[in-house]
């Protein structure tokens, strides 16, 4: 909160105040520990991914992507993400809007429901879909009559991805919308605006940054989802392998360069996501502060 920043600045004008800061030794030690953790758990693995991917040179690296199965995996992942992210965007908007702006019974129950995908292990989520749509599942007879294949096929992967990423947008937007309250919307309504016009011209602009963040996160999470997808995909090479599944297969086949090369795609995506996020923050710092401010 900006207010807190101001008040702490007031206590510590310019240089550190002895009364409120630790001694130099403690400060250096704490910073060193934090830095060590960062290097060990974030930077080293990231460097390792690219180092392993490039260990046999650039040609071997790019050959990994020329492989048909690798291309199929990339295509499938993009396809699944292209469905899951818009779906979650719409769901997240609808859920956060109704939860944050309206009072109704069962609200906290709905909040708990939205959190379930975060609290359940992805493997369990995957198994649930097998239980429902698998060959011995509850809906198996129905699916047989309709000649629909859900598990071990793309629809199952889409379902599992949507399920696992379901809370991301809603969870990001609910606190934001709750803090903003309904004052702006009420103002628009008193000015004669319809509900839809109010949503598009007042509610959406107020949450655009939070929405963009959550879509970026959702996108990264959808592309990288492993657990639930692993259960429902059936690992059919060239058909139901997504990028993370393909990495696992290559790794198990001792094709380390291939595994790390494909993995570097995901790592690269993470870096790009971070860069875009930082760029947005830098470009629109004023807007972000304003929307957080009141």
């Amino acid at each position: 909160m900006p207010d807190q920043a101001v008040s702490s600045n007031a206590i510590v004008p310019g240089k550190p105040n002895r009364l409120v800061t630790e001694s130099t030794v403690v400060r250096i030690a704490l910073i060193a520990i934090a830095a060590a953790f960062l290097v060990l758990f974030l930077i080293l693995p990231l460097v390792a991914v690219f180092q392993q991917a490039l260990v046999k040179g650039l040609n071997a690296y790019f050959d990994s992507f020329a492989d048909e199965d690798a291309q199929a995996a990339i295509k499938l992942s993009l396809y699944v993400t292209a469905i899951a992210v818009p779906f979650n965007l719409v769901f997240g908007l609808a859920a956060s809007w109704s939860i944050a702006k309206f009072e109704f019974t069962g609200k906290s129950f709905l909040l708990t429901l939205i959190d379930i995908p975060f609290s359940v292990s992805p493997v369990v989520s995957g198994l649930i879909f097998i239980l429902l749509f698998g060959a011995q599942g509850y809906f198996a007879p129905l699916l047989r009559t309709l000649d629909l294949q859900i598990v071990f096929a793309t629809p199952g992967i889409v379902l599992a991805t949507i399920f696992v990423t379901l809370p991301l947008v809603a969870r990001q937007l609910i606190p934001l919308m709750q803090e903003q309250g309904v004052g702006d919307e009420e103002a628009a309504l008193t000015l004669g605006a319809s509900g839809l016009y109010t949503f598009v011209t007042v509610t959406l602009p107020n949450i655009k940054w939070g929405l963009l963040y959550s879509v970026l996160l959702c996108n990264a999470r959808a592309l990288g989802e492993f657990g639930a997808v692993s259960v429902v995909s059936g690992h059919i090479r060239g058909l139901t392998d997504t990028i993370p599944l393909h990495v696992e297969i290559l790794y198990n086949e001792y094709n380390f360069v291939g595994a790390f090369a494909v993995a570097s795609l995901l790592a690269g995506l993470a870096l790009v996501t971070l860069a875009v996020k930082s760029l947005l923050e830098w470009l629109y710092a004023d807007d972000l502060a304003a929307s957080a401010g009141h």
């Binding site: 004052g183 702006d184 009420e186 103002a187 628009a188 309504l189 008193t190 000015l191 004669g192 605006a193 319809s194 016009y197 011209t201 007042v202 602009p205 107020n206 807007d287 304003a290 929307s291 401010g293 009141h294």
Partner: protein, 363 residues
């Protein structure tokens, strides 16, 4: 704050709409089982500037929101110009609403904010672009912010934001203007300027205006009539003079300013302390003890052992031509006395107090 210029008066920024009456008929409202408004009836005249005055929790804001259509009553009716509006949505009521915290759209410029209500209309009812621009410019001129058209709300001071909020509400030509604690978030000087300015705007537009405030000064200065609410009840409606001179109930009296309560009794419609007759009527009160309320300025300092009450000065100070004394009466009560006379304010100085006015209520 600049006064409204004479030239501006001639323009048709706010077309001379026929002012609307507002009738509130036996409105009641409960929130989660707690009663917020009980059986409120109030007739607001066309073109009147009326204040809904009361402490926080008195239900005044809820009543305003019910008039606007932002809340719906559990019982009773709201009428605009004699037509039932109880079931109308907020959009259809065509009210202008000014919020305490402005509620300006921060992603729109000042001009964009003012034009919002016009742009929001369905295509068939929407004025042309040039007409909208013309109206926005005229309103910007009215609120003296013509140079701020392209700024954003975050670049404006609180007082400027509230002026924009008012212009935005006026842009849609509302039938009734509603203001919820419009000056509540502003500092004292800006508040005074805006009050005068709101009064000017009201004189110019002649619109029926209802505003909510907890500041009795604001209500008494601005309004034609004051409606005083207390704990969900409408205690009294009257002109500022009415409510001050004839407060209908103890909550009204207490809310309109300091007072001290003294033991008195009534005989034949007249208040007495001991054997001395007070210049205070005790009408509609049975003979016997009454609750007498005296304002700080309704005492006169007299020689010790004279007057109605004997007291000692505890402390005092002078400010703006008045001596404010804290005194302790002989029966142990401590209260404030204001007098224009310079008093030395010596501690434990003995004084007599003559009561020159007050209000009595049944005990």
């Amino acid at each position: 704050m600049p006064m409204i210029s004479q030239q501006a008066r001639g323009t048709d920024v706010i077309p001379a709409l026929k002012p609307t009456t507002v009738t509130i008929d036996r409105i009641s409202k409960t929130f989660k089982g707690a009663s917020v408004l009980e059986d409120i009836s109030l007739d607001i005249k066309a073109g009147e500037l009326i204040a809904l005055l009361g402490p926080s929790g008195s239900g005044k804001t809820t009543l305003l929101r019910i008039i606007a259509g932002l809340e719906f009553p559990d019982g009773g009716r709201v009428e605009f110009g004699g037509m039932d509006a109880t079931g109308l949505s907020v959009q259809k009521r065509k009210v202008g609403f000014v919020f305490q915290h402005y509620a300006l759209f921060k992603h729109l410029t000042i001009a964009g904010n003012i034009a919002y209500g016009l742009n929001a209309r369905p295509r068939a009812e929407r004025p042309s672009k040039s007409e909208i621009n013309r109206r926005v410019e005229a309103l910007l001129d009215l609120i003296k912010l013509s140079n701020f058209a392209d700024r954003y709300p975050s670049q404006l001071s609180g007082g400027q934001r509230q002026r924009v909020a008012l212009a935005r509400a006026l842009a849609v030509e509302p039938r009734v203007l509603l203001l919820d604690e419009p000056f509540g978030a502003l500092d004292a000087q800006v508040r005074k300027d805006l009050r005068r300015w709101l009064r000017d705007i009201h004189i110019r537009t002649g619109q029926t205006t209802i505003f909510v405030t907890h500041d009795q000064d604001e209500a008494l200065e601005l309004s034609d009539r004051v409606a005083i609410l207390h704990a969900g009840h409408l205690e009294q409606v009257g002109t500022p003079n009415d409510v001050q001179e004839h407060p209908a109930s103890i909550p009204v009296l207490k809310f309109l300013g300091d007072s001290c309560e003294l033991q008195a009794h009534s005989i034949n419609g007249q208040a007495f302390i001991g054997n001395s007759k007070l210049p205070v009527a005790a009408q509609n009160v049975k003979d016997g003890p009454v609750r007498l309320f005296v304002r700080p300025w309704q005492f006169e300092l007299v020689a010790p052992e004279a007057g109605h009450i004997q007291a000692n000065i505890k402390s005092g100070y002078r400010s703006q031509g008045l001596s404010h004394l804290s005194v302790a009466s002989d029966n142990g009560q401590i209260f404030t006395v204001d007098t224009a006379r310079p008093v030395s304010c010596q501690e434990n100085e003995r004084i007599g107090l003559q009561i020159t006015g007050g209000h009595s209520f049944p005990a």
